[in-house]
Structures are given as C-alpha cells and as structure tokens.
C-alpha cells in the first residue's frame, strides 16, 4: 500500500494495574503506529495486553489502571489531554466497538436515543437533523426497517443487529480510526462473516483506518494490511500480514499459526454396540400463559430428532445459537423432559424419573462451556472433583477418594497438588481440565461435551481437544460433542449432525459433510468458517 500519513502512534506505552497482590504490568512498553485508511490487526491470546493497549489509548482503563508513555493522535498526546478535550476525540475522531454486542448497548434506552446522543454531542445538530442522521446510519449498516428500529430496545434485536448498531454509533461522526475489539467473537459464524463484510464495505466507502484486536487469525488473514503479534504485554512480531503468514519469525507466532486443532477421528466399527439411542426426540418449552394470561406460546426447541451413538464414537452436533443443540444434549441425558424414545445401553430411559436416573448418572457425564461459572468457587478443586463419588461410591473412605482425585487430575494433565486450591487460581484451560476430571473420576461411558473449548484460546483449545481424544481412546468413551466451531468439530467427531431451528438439516460422516455439504445451511456455515479468501486486498 502507498505510504500514507501516520495518524496514531503509540510510543513506549506501559499499562499498570494496582491490585491487592501488587502492581501488574499488562502492557510493557510497546510501539504501534496506524496509518490513515489502513487495516491493522493486533493479535494475541487472552492476557496478551492487546485490548488494554487500545483501552489505554482511549482512556477507558479500569479505575485501578494507569498508562504511561504516549499515544499521539495527529500530534496530540491522548494520555495527557483534559477530559473535555479527550471527549472531543473519543467517539468523533477515534471510535470503538466491542466484543460484547449483547451488553455494550444501554438496555434502558431505545436504539434511536442512543444513536442520536453522540451525533448531537459531537456535531451540535438539532433533534430533527440528528434523527435523520441516525436513520441514515442505520441504513448504512443495513438494518432493515430503520424507522421502526429507531424505537426498538437492544433486547429486541439479535446479537448481529446490535453489533451493527454499535458500528453505526461508532461511525456516526465519520471517524479517522475505528478500533474493533474482538467485534465478532461473540457471534455465530454466519453472522461473523456478515459483520466482517460490512466493516470491509464501510471502510471502502468511508476510508477510515481499522484496528482489529483479535485472537482469530482467520480475520487477520482476510483483512489486515499489517499485523502486530502481542504476547504477555509485548509486541513479539510485526509486519505485513502476508509476510507473517508466509514466513513467521517468532516462535510464538508460529505456535499461533499452528494452533488450529488437527487430526481426524476414525469411525468406530459398524458393529460397535449402541450406547445411546434417541428416536423422535422432542422438547417443547411453554412460554408465558397462566392465570388470566391466556394460552402459553409453545416453542419446539428439539423437533423429531433421532440419533444413534455407538461405543467409542463421537457425534458432533453443529448449529448456531438457538438451533437446539444444547437442548438436545440435555434431553438425551434426561435432564429435561422430552417426548420420544431414549435408550441408554439396553435400558429404555424415556420415562425414567430422577430417582431411576440417579444410578445411571455416573455413566453419563456432562462438561460445560463456561469454565468460570461451572465450578463452585467455594469448594477446593479436590472437593469439586470428588463430589460425584460421594453419591455414586459412598463406601469410599476419604483417603480413597483423595487417591482417586490424584489419579483423575493426573489423567487430565494437572498437578495433583491442585486439589487443595480453589478454582479461581486456575486459568480457563486448567479449569476446563478440572471440569473434565470431575466427569472422568466416575469412569463414565458417555460424556456430553457442550462447547467445551469455545471459551478458550486457540492454543489451549488444541490441548483440550488432544486431551479429550486421548481419554476417549484410553476408556472407549462415547462423546456427544456440541459445538458451533467447525474446525474443532472436524478434529473431534467422526459423525456430524447439523441442526437448525430444532431440526436436523443434514447428517453424515465428518469427511463426507466437510467435502461435500448438501444442505444450503451447511454450506453457509462452512463458507463462513473455513473460507480464507480475503474480502479486500489493500487498495
């Protein structure tokens, strides 16, 4: 790209947080510059300081954080500007969108109200003019029926639409720089692709520079002109995007590039015994209704689904949020009331109640997505891991339970001493290992894995995938692997079910699905997730 003017330059930026354990340095003296109209990606895993760098530039650090060094925007150091001067830059010249479209808009005000506020503030327009401007912006980001949407509240819109609104707010005052902090991470893959294409289109139209803060190398490859790779508060590598992908220099960059889960799972022999079978399983939720409230709305979350899981098999259940994949997993474990036939081993459990299910529970375990919410913060890791033993093997002595905890933790690759510590002392990946140990200690036959890697960094994901595959081989486990992440599913599952709106739209052996997807929806999913062609080559 043509050498153009540098509009933002970050020099020797350090960000420190005062904590109870002393000062923590999140960013350790980095240099970054942004040229007009270019697309720069700041890449790194969680804790690399990539977000804090930009938060510091925008003076959005948490109250215990402080930044030193300089962030020059067109010759003025943002770090030393007075608040009122700074507020003339923020939201006008430099604006920002965030990872959490669900919570980044104020839930108590209408979309129109929130769009109009920054327009009026920065441009001093009257109410009517600002209203017109807001409508124009909603059209610009392709929100259908903008007049009506002006009156909508955030909770009435989907995640993708909210992110479009965020983008509209950020672009309201024609900024020089748009900072996008993981703008698509919380969205479904097809929506991710739409948002990214929208950003590319807007950049072509409006010509602002975009800074992508991301852990997703796919985005970097498709979008960025230049890349900064960050790790533990330092920039370890920088350069043209193409060069970094073709010829990475730093070991960490190489590791990031190689972190996509690899390997394939072979199908079990055709005559392997069937462990879990569901026939015409249906789950219906009642919404509303009751005394004087009229008829309830019936929502069919799982609609006539049949599934057969053999020993040592992994079935990947793929779909976007709201497709019913998690509900199906819970229904098959009889954690939710459902219609249809469910067999576990040679038992019909379609109508089994809690009590009848209890002895079977040890053979069917569940691992959840959220490694932070699914472990009780008030129990030691040892207590968390051995709790199931109290129910299912009540005769064990305390010593025997402790021994089992040691074995289980060792098996998932954790130091057995971890059992005397509390979950908050561990990272996301370690916590997910603890959750897996909690399931494995009961020696189950079936494990339902509900997005077990979605909250983790790529490199950690890869390790967890490898761990799960090893456990499967060692114990002849059967997995139901629920995920929206196709690359992980591909590495884990030998059979795939694609769900949409409670129904199976396509199913088959993994390689068949990946090499030749039949249904339009599957093709869309694949294209959104796998396609690495660039949306835009630098102008």
């Amino acid at each position: 790209m043509a050498a153009s003017e540098t509009i933002l330059s970050v020099r020797d930026l350090r960000v420190r947080f005062r904590t109870l354990d002393g000062a923590v340095e999140a960013v350790k003296g980095i240099n970054i510059h942004i040229n007009a109209g270019e697309t720069v990606a700041v890449v790194g895993e969680s804790g690399s300081g990539k977000s804090q760098t930009m938060m510091a530039a925008m003076s959005l650090l948490a109250s215990n954080g402080e930044a030193t060094g300089s962030v020059d925007y067109r010759g003025r150091n943002l770090l030393t500007l007075s608040k009122s001067e700074l507020n003339k830059v923020r939201g006008a010249k430099i604006s920002m969108i965030f990872q959490e479209p669900m919570t980044s808009l104020d839930p108590l005000y209408s979309i129109g109200n929130q769009l109009i506020e920054p327009i009026r503030r920065h441009r001093g327009l009257g109410a009517a003019e600002a209203h017109e401007e807001a409508l124009k912006l909603l059209r610009l980001v392709h929100i259908p029926d903008p007049e009506r949407r002006m009156k909508s509240y955030p909770h009435e819109m989907s995640g993708g639409q909210r992110q479009r609104v965020m983008i509209a707010m950020a672009l309201a005052n024609d900024p020089d720089i748009l900072i996008a902090d993981e703008p698509t991470t919380a969205l479904d893959v097809t929506i991710q692709a739409q948002i990214l294409m929208l950003l590319a289109e807007l950049q072509r139209k409006l010509g602002m520079a975009i800074v992508f803060i991301t852990h997703d190398l796919g985005i970097v490859r498709r979008f960025a002109d230049r890349v900064y790779v960050m790790r533990q508060g330092e920039v370890v590598e920088e350069g043209e995007a193409e060069a970094i992908f073709v010829n990475p220099q730093h070991a960490y960059t190489k590791m990031l590039l190689a972190a996509e889960p690899t390997g394939r799972k072979a199908a079990p022999p055709a005559n392997a015994p069937v462990l879990l079978e569901g026939r015409n399983v249906e789950v219906t939720f009642r919404i509303g209704g009751g005394f004087l409230a009229g008829e309830p709305l019936m929502l069919r979350a799982v609609d006539h689904i049949s599934i057969r899981l053999q020993r040592n098999q992994t079935i990947g259940i793929v779909g976007e949020s709201g497709s019913g994949k998690s509900t199906l997993g819970r229904a098959l474990l009889r954690l939710l009331p459902s219609d249809g036939l469910i067999r576990f081993g040679d038992r019909d459990i379609s109508t089994a109640d809690r009590q009848a299910m209890r002895p079977l529970r040890r053979e069917m375990q569940l691992v959840f997505q959220d490694p932070f919410g699914s472990l009780s913060p008030r129990m030691t890791v040892g207590q968390v891991v051995t709790e199931g033993l109290l129910v299912h093997e009540p005769n064990l002595s305390g010593k025997q339970r402790d021994q089992r905890a040691v074995e289980a933790l060792r098996e998932v690759g954790l130091d057995p001493n971890a059992r005397n510590r509390y979950p908050h002392e561990f990272s996301g990946g370690q916590r997910q290992r603890i959750a897996i140990a909690r399931a494995m200690i009961l020696k189950p036959k079936l494990v339902v894995l509900d997005e077990p890697t979605s909250a983790l960094d790529r490199s950690v994901q890869k390790q967890i995938v490898e761990l799960l595959r090893k456990l499967q081989t060692d114990h002849e486990l059967s997995y139901l692997f629920i995920s929206h992440d196709l690359s992980v599913v591909r590495a884990m599952a030998d059979y795939i079910i694609v769900m949409k709106q409670g129904k199976i739209v396509e199913e088959g052996p993994t390689e068949a699905i990946f090499s030749n997807p039949q249904h339009v929806y599957t093709q869309t999913l694949m294209a959104a997730a796998i396609d690495v062609t660039r949306f835009r080559l630098s102008a």
């Binding site: 959005l60 948490a62 830059v89 923020r90 604006s95 920054p118 909770h155 965020m166 004087l292 409230a293």
Partner: protein
Amino acid sequence: MLRYVFRRLLTAIPTLFVIVTMAFFLMRVAPGGPFNQERGLSPEIRANLEAQFGLNDPLWLQFVHYLGNLLRGNFGPSYNMPDFTVTELFAKGLPISVQLGASALILALLLGSVLGTIAALNQNKVGDYTVIALATAGSTIPTFVIAPVIQLLFGLTWKLLPIGGWGDGAFINKVGPVLTLALPQIAIVARLMRGSMIESLRSHHIRTARALGLSDWSVVVKHALRGAILPIVSFTGPAAAALLTGSVIVETIFSIPGVGRYFVDAALNRDYTLVMGTVVVIAIFTIVFNLIVDVMYAVVDPRVRYD
C-alpha cells in the same frame, strides 16, 4: 399492563384471605383474652362483655362473622377502647403515620441515592469511606437511641424543635420524628445505591458511552444511574409499607397519635379486632406497594414486560 394490574389485584384477594385467617386463629391460640387483665372484673360482668362481643360463640362462627363484617368494610369495635371502632381509630391515626412515613421515605430515597452515588463515584476514596461510615452508623444505631438524642440536642439544649407531640401537624413537630424514621433508611438506601451504582458504572454500556465521548453528566446520570435505580425501586416497596403504617418506637417517644402503637398495644391486650385491623392494613399496604414496585420496574426497564 392494565390487565396485569387487574390480575395482580385479583390474586391479592386469596392472599389477604390467607393472611386474615392465619392472623385470626393465631391470635386465638395465644392464651388469655381481651378482658382477662382487668382484675377487678367480676365474673358476671366479664361474661356479659364476652356475650356482647360474641366471644362465646364457637370460634368458626366468630370467624365467619368477622369475615362478613370485614367484607362490608367494618373492622368491628375495639375491645380495649370501647368508645371507638377500629375504623375510627385508623381514620384518626393513619393519616398521621402516613404523613410521617411518606416524608421519611422521600427524604431517605433522595438523600440516600445522592450519598450512594457520591460514594460509588469515589470508590475507595475519602468520599466513599465517609459515606460508608455514616451509613454503617445510621443502620446500626437503633431508633430508640437516635430519637432521645434528637430530643435532647434539638429540643432541650438548642431549643430548635419541640420535644414531642403532634401539634396538629405543625411542620416543626414533624422534623424530629421524620429524621428519626429516615436516618436508618437513608443509610440502607445509600449502601444499596453505592453497590448497584458501582456495578452499573462497570457495565459494558457505560464503557460504550465513554468511548463515544459523552459527557460525564450523561454517562453518570442518564446511563449509569437509571440502571442502578432498580434495586432501590425493589427496596422501596416493603420499606414504604413498613414506614407508612407507623413506628411504635418513634410514635411513643415523640408522643405522636399515629397507628404504629396500636399493633403492639393491641397484641399485648389481646384486642382481637384492633390486631386484625392492623394486620389487614399492613397487608394491603404491602400488596399495593409491591404492585407499584413491579409497575415501576416496567417503567424504568423496557425489558420488563407483563402481559
């Protein structure tokens, strides 16, 4: 929304019925009766009195009679103050208690919210610690200590306020009791407000508002405060019901002819009808204020919808 309010009012009927039934029978389980304490009472007079008030009928019949009267809005005569019906006692005392309670509540909500917000904006700084210290003091010092101290300082030493009495509702007579009622509530509101404001200020949409370069006033008042107000709204329901139905301590210490004293006096004297009347009034206040809170919720938060 109207339909929701109507439905809630309908469900209040069985609720009230259960409360009245339980209060009626629990009261009768307690030993003694309204005419036991009067030692000089000869057995004949006592029998006459009990016959007059129907206390000799089987319990279920008394209950049916009471319910029948209640449905016609008749709370019955007071046993210990035979010159008055319960309705008359409330007609005289309730407006006084409501005036004091409402003033204290409004004062507490305004002052408490402001203090709580100041604390939140200065989290872990001097302003914050000052408010927390005051709030802790306010909620731990009992009313029966605050009231005499106010009387002593403002009444006796500085002669700014009357020591007690209602004075036909003169403003100056209300200051002491309202302050006493409000202080603990100010403390509670301030602490609630501080907590929810801190949370609100940390939320993602506040970060968005700052990133958009909005003014501090807009960020704090328009965006953070409105989100933080919800816990205060929930608190206001039960607090209003409690404050508006009078406080036995404050009314006794300041010699205020409100209804707060009735509950305790009546319970001790086994004044069945007056106890029942108080229970019904408090229950109705509680139900109505909880309904108002739920409606306010929907007004403040567009995500809350009832239909």
